[in-house]
Amino acid sequence: METKGAIMNKQSAEALTPFSPSLHANVQAIRNRFGGSCDLVIRLFSSDAAPERELAIIYVDGIVDSETINESIMEPLMSLKLPQYRYQKGGKLLDALRSCVVSIGSVQEINTMDEALLYMTDGLCIILADGCAAALTADVNGGSQRAVSIAQTQTVIRGPQYGFVENIRTNISLIRRIIRSPDLHVQMHKIGKQTHSNVAVLYLHGIVNEGILKEVYRRLAAIDIDGVLESGYIEEFIQDETFTLFPTLLNTERPDSVAAALLEGRIAVLVDGTPIALMAPTTFFSFFQSPEDYYQRYDIASFVRIIRYVAYIVSMLLPALYIAVTTYHQEMLPTTLLISLAAQREGIPFPGLVEALLMEMTFEVLREAGLRMPRAIGPAISIVGALVLGQSAVQAGIVSAGMVIVVSFTAISNFVMPEFNMAATSRIIRFGFMLMAGMLGFFGIFVSVLFMLIHLTSLRSFGVPYMSPLAPGPTRQGLFRDVFIRLPWWAIVLRPLDMNLRNPKRRPNGKKPPAQRHTDKP
């Protein structure tokens, strides 16, 4: 882990309490600061290394690995006889302990009480010595945490299956294991006055646009909040535009997605306590790119991606189009279809718009219920849902069969989206389109779509136009090779973002390495 220098600098502006030379005074001060909490462990002892001076180990129980403390700190300190060490009274004792006794990788010396408190809550162990106005910290972070397991929200058929966990250190290590390069830089920040949550900024040095990186730092530094429990907190602080339905930051649960984003020159933000990482800058089209697009063969991937665009438009517009056609533009339907729809509508008490709103609301309620209810009740809900939504409503003559088909297909289309937040956008926007279609027909839909497009082109994500490279137009050729379709990997020369990267090229050229047809012949 990187040092916490940055955050310390922020605090050093305020008056910091230095350590007292008296061990007991220091211990008492720490104990008071924690209000005598029972999970604070203070162990006073004397070591053979320095028998005449008392030592203390302080840590917070449960967030440290007790075994490491016992084996690497307590045992060497208590059992080692080190008469050959001649130390002078004063601060030198800590130096001797650091260099010869404590067998922990990350050990450092600190001088103030505030630092000590911060490190302790972060899972480090503090070693204090009598007569020293300083302390050693040893990184013994540990405690119980969820094991790395299969990603739940973004599943793929081909590709790595594991997802992030709640521990930020594990998460960073997962990315490190993919990108084994010193160019992968990780900058740690602490955000939250109470939670002191670790927020890590990851980027690939030499590729990333430094202006955007600085902007990320600036926005992170400006966050003043008491606690950060999830990356959603950070997202709402650092996104460009609040009053928009469209997400301007990507999030993912998958380490390979983050690694891919870093390789594309994006910046990743990891937050402690959540498996969801943020990625910026983001364009509209990146929400249509599933990680699997890059693992499957390019033709399959392109096909599926086109399906996704179509499904997205369907999930946004289909009910609106249905309303508009059946209440304003009946002449557009083929005669047979019109008569069939008219037959279904016989005896339906509501106008098309009300019917559609009713069904959509029912579906949204069912969907939310399915998410929130205890798992054991799941099947019950699906049975009720299928019956209520499907057969009974039609048989009772409350909604028409055509509407049920439209609403169901709309709902299914919505699940095609690889990114949940973009899918949710279409769910909300759909209602607007439906109202406009109910009031003004195709004209209403057209006006709303126009409004939406104008809005989309006005959005920025960390200064990068949201609709790039489509609007305001690509600055380089070859940027569309991974937007609507995905070309084979060897043809994707440029990193996809049109954002002045330090190094915009992935490969030297768009040529396939030659293959020899008959490998067994000389």
Partner: protein, 404 residues
């Protein structure tokens, strides 16, 4: 925030201003599948064939068989006033966008159709893709006739003409658009197919009558009505209409029957399927007379052949080709004589002359029908048989051979 407030306000205002004014639910419209036009007692009588969707839907089987359409009429001095009177006797707004066919009664056609065409040209909801038919009797009578296989009679008649145009080309579908285009064109004449109720004439106005295996009466395509300016001027028969289709290059696919010898008009025992046909017209002025050179090219397959001759021999096939050519010439001649008799240039000779000799046309356009009837037409034909089918000699000849 001011921006947002303004936007929301504008949107709300927009809803109040224009929202919903022309909203019509599907169960508030009466879908008209066919319209009939009659001239009765000095007024226009419009008849509507309105679809009853419940009777068609497979979803809700109603008790007992019921007719899928309902026919009623309104009268008025003009078309739209008659249509507007429909609201006095029906619960639903009549919806004409899906009207498939319009049937014009003989009386109405003789009275003149200018008013009807004006309605179609002026209004967006009257589609010009609707097919136009004439009817020897009352148009309303045609609408009341149920037709087997199709639930909606309007669709059935529409299907009939498409089928006819694609497979035998004796008539062709005349949409309102084509009719108006021809009447506004050079020769200002058009041929419209007509419908008659064939058989016993018993009215098939009840769906229970369709439960029998045979229908005592049915709607048929019959003669071709000739319209000049905007009035019906006469009728020509199916055979003549076939000739007119050849002359006017409207043949898509058809079957031609022919006898064993060129001169022989007696039993036409053989037939040939024409799969592609093309007719070229070339006008020529000689003296004070116009000559029209008509050249028809046709290709096709031999379907049926009951004369002698070995069809595996090319010279024999060529002989058959010549016979078909003379048959085509006769057909076209018949068509030509028919239109000449009525002085109605529905074959488009006028526009060909107009294109090639614009100056000459200008001089004679006012007396065109006179010139037309005095024209000389020279017909040539070229037929090619692509295939003689799977058997070479034919049944009879093979039988003879096997005996010897």
């Amino acid at each position: 925030m001011n921006y947002w407030k303004t936007t929301v306000l504008l949107l709300l205002l927009a809803c109040l201003l224009g929202g919903c004014w022309n909203r019509v639910e599907l169960n508030e419209i009466g879908i008209v599948s066919a319209t009939g036009v009659d001239w009765k007692d000095g007024k226009w009588q419009l008849s509507y064939q309105v679809v009853i969707p419940q009777a068609i839907s497979s979803q809700s089987p109603s008790a007992g068989p019921s007719a899928a359409v309902n026919v009623f009429s309104t009268t008025g001095d003009n078309f739209r006033i008659a249509t507007s009177k429909a609201s006095q006797e029906t619960s639903r707004q009549l919806y004409f966008a899906h009207n498939q066919i319009i049937i014009i009664g003989q009386e109405a056609a003789r009275k003149g159709l200018g008013q009807l065409f004006d309605v179609y040209l002026r209004n967006a909801d009257s589609r010009e893709t609707v097919s136009v038919y004439l009817s020897k009797g009352s148009a309303r009578r045609m609408l009341e006739q149920l037709i087997p296989l199709e639930k909606i009679p309007g669709n059935a008649i529409q299907g009939m003409i498409t089928n006819e145009e694609m497979n035998s080309s004796v008539f062709r579908q005349m949409t309102m658009h084509k009719v108006v285009l021809d009447l506004l064109g050079t020769s200002q004449a058009v041929g419209i197919p007509s419908l008659v109720v064939g058989g016993t004439g018993e009215s098939m106005d009840r769906s229970s009558k369709l439960s029998r295996t045979n229908t005592p009466s049915k709607v048929r395509l019959h003669d071709l009505g000739l319209i000049q300016k905007d009035k019906l001027v006469g009728w020509i028969t199916k055979e003549e209409s076939f000739g007119v289709m050849w002359l006017a290059d409207h043949i898509k696919r058809t079957t031609v029957a022919f006898g064993c010898k060129q001169e022989d008009k007696e039993p036409e025992e053989s037939s040939m399927r024409i799969i592609s046909a093309k007719t070229k017209l070339r006008p020529e002025k000689s003296g004070g007379k116009w000559i029209m050179h008509v050249h028809a090219e046709a290709e096709g397959t031999l379907l049926e052949y009951n004369c002698g001759g070995d069809m595996t021999e090319p010279p024999e096939v060529e002989k058959v080709e010549r016979i078909v050519e003379s048959e085509l010439k006769a057909v076209m001649e018949k068509g030509w004589q028919a239109v000449r008799r009525h002085r109605a240039d529905i074959v488009g000779f006028g526009s060909v002359i107009h294109k090639k000799y614009p100056k000459a046309w200008k001089e004679m356009k006012d007396e065109w029908s006179e010139h037309f009837s005095r024209m000389e037409v020279k017909i040539t034909a070229n037929v090619k048989i692509n295939s003689t089918g799977m058997s070479g000699n034919g049944f009879k000849k093979t039988q003879e051979k096997s005996r010897s």
